[in-house]
Amino acid sequence: MRIVVCAKQVPDTEARVTVGKDGRSIDETGITFIINPYDEFALEEGLRIKERLGGQATVTMVCVGPPRAEEALRTGLAMGADAAVHVWDDSLAGADAAALALVLQAAVTQLGFDLILCGRVAIDDASAQVGLRLAERLGLPHANAVTKLEVQGSKLVAHREVEGGVEVVELPLPAVVTAQKGLNEPRYPTIPAIMKARRREIGRPGLAGLGLDAGKVADACRSEVLSLAPAPARKGGRLVAGEPQEAARTLAHLLREEAKVL
């Protein structure tokens, strides 16, 4: 079974993110980048499926991103991925979800696949659509926000989070699955595995190697960011003093009379 995991490198959740000079992208100075947590769940699930199949599978990690994203692929290899593919071209800076789906479609098609695993959402732009766009482009079914996954021969049984509950869905392979928190607990790579991963080959097909070029990427973009700005900062308000009973009474009064939210 050929498993392809699509992953993205994103700023750490604790990072203080500021706007860059161009006013449309972020200033990356001093930011620690990590594998998008949901993509890490996807990778871990791929590795577990391989282990459950007694190794009768390959896990290939694909990452579209600038040179720094190589680090994410090295981490993936250290965790146990069999191969890694890094796609980058300067024309991909600022590419939107529609363009990324086009690029990933070309990449996964070239690799060949039975199962594509993605994170449900990336925590940077929170757009949550590349995986599902990829499924639509490939004409494949998908299971979104999956918290439990089982491979049964040529089909999948997935538990997915829906509003107020869990939906159990069955879908034939090939298919796209997006990982939700709760699917698994990703492993930590061992030090020897990290050392070994540093020397591993990483595939770099380039846009041309995928049958694409900068023009095709630009043509596929459907959206444009006009500007980026820090969210308006909130100011601390007032502390309500007093013993619990008294403070609670004052607060209830303020919420009704002053804030008018009750």
């Binding site: 829906v162 107020g164 509950g165 869990v166 459907r222 960011v225 502390l239 609670a248 919420l255 804030a259």
Partner: protein
């Protein structure tokens, strides 16, 4: 261009909150451009859908139904929406950012060859085009974005963020469209739906959220949070610390790796205010913090704060509010 379309999603027979918010906010643009404002309902719908959507200014309710649409499937509904809109040259198609729309809208966007501006908190009409405001990096930054011309404009909006605009009620026309989802076009089969909670207000639509963090101390500690939530008809939220400790399930998590919410009132109990949590709730209209640590960062963003033991303050607040709301 022929129409601003709003996907009118229902839950337990009621239209979602965001449906009315989006419709009413688009009424002005519809008037300015002459575009009809159309609510699209797919699958089972309330019989009096036009009457229910009239207060929000809809011109037309388009009800798409037929075999294969009794139960939601992403492939079936994506097919139904796009084939119904194909001949109508929509200018825009908007959704509430609900779990269902997050599953449906990306496929629809791909089928319509369109951008999808996801989880927007603002909508403006400037120089003849829609401009969307979207929180990025968990709400640390806000982007203003547009679609490239020549394609329909798609977006999902975070519930509670647009609010309902005051518009004159309309008498929407009602058009039923019968379709049949082509055999073999839906490959996935829903085997079972396990309901965990019924009737509870959804975290993202809730007007009021009461959240617990590390200070709650354990699963049993959430009882005081729930009691306050019950008195207020609020939803229960949690910080990542509380979820990772296994005290409450992940669907309650608010933050950059959980849900982003915009309630009227957010009451944070025993939450220190980690940046990743603030990311998910700082667009709340009013924030209350209850924490025993006077230096907790949450007090720097809260409109009102009480420094104290949440196990004393929260029950006192519950009792106080119960009495206040009974009197009212």
């Amino acid at each position: 261009m022929a129409g601003i379309f709003v996907y009118a999603e229902t839950k337990e027979g009621e239209f979602r909150k965001a449906t009315g918010e989006i419709l009413s906010r688009c009424r002005g643009v519809a008037d300015a451009t002459g575009e009809p404002l159309v609510a699209v309902v797919v699958g089972p719908a309330p019989e009096d859908a036009p009457r229910r959507l009239a207060p929000f200014g809809a011109d037309l309710v388009l009800h798409v139904e037929g075999p294969g649409l009794e139960v939601y499937t992403s492939q079936g509904y994506a097919w139904a929406v796009t084939s119904c809109l194909a001949g109508r040259q929509p200018a825009a198609l908007f959704f509430g950012n609900t779990p269902l729309a997050r599953d449906l809208a990306p496929r629809v966007a791909e089928r319509m060859d369109a951008a999808l501006h996801a989880d927007c908190t603002g909508l403006a009409w400037e120089d003849g085009r829609f401009v969307f405001t979207r929180p990025l990096y968990g709400g640390k930054l806000l982007a203003r974005a547009v679609s490239r011309p020549g394609h329909p404009v798609l977006a999902t909006f975070r519930p509670n963020s647009l609010g309902v605009a005051e518009v004159a009620a309309t008498s929407p026309a009602y058009e039923r469209v019968q379709v049949e989802v082509p055999a073999g076009s839906v490959a996935s089969v829903v085997k079972e739906t396990i309901r965990q909670v019924a009737g509870r207000v959804s975290l993202q639509e809730a007007e009021i959220i009461v959240s617990g963090g590390r200070g709650v101390g354990g699963p049993e500690g959430f009882r005081v949070i729930e009691e306050l939530a019950d008195v207020l008809g609020a939803a229960v939220g949690a910080s990542r610390a509380a979820v990772d400790a296994g005290w409450i399930s992940y669907d309650h998590q608010v933050g950059q790796t959980g849900k982003a919410v915009s309630p009227n009132l957010y009451i944070a109990c025993g939450i220190s205010g980690a940046i990743q949590h603030l990311a998910g709730m700082s667009s709340a209209r009013c924030i209350v913090a209850i924490n025993k640590d006077p230096d907790a960062y949450i007090f720097k963003v809260a409109d009102y704060g009480i420094v104290g033991d949440l196990f004393q303050v929260v029950p006192a607040l519950t009792a106080e509010l119960r009495e206040m709301l009974v009197r009212a």
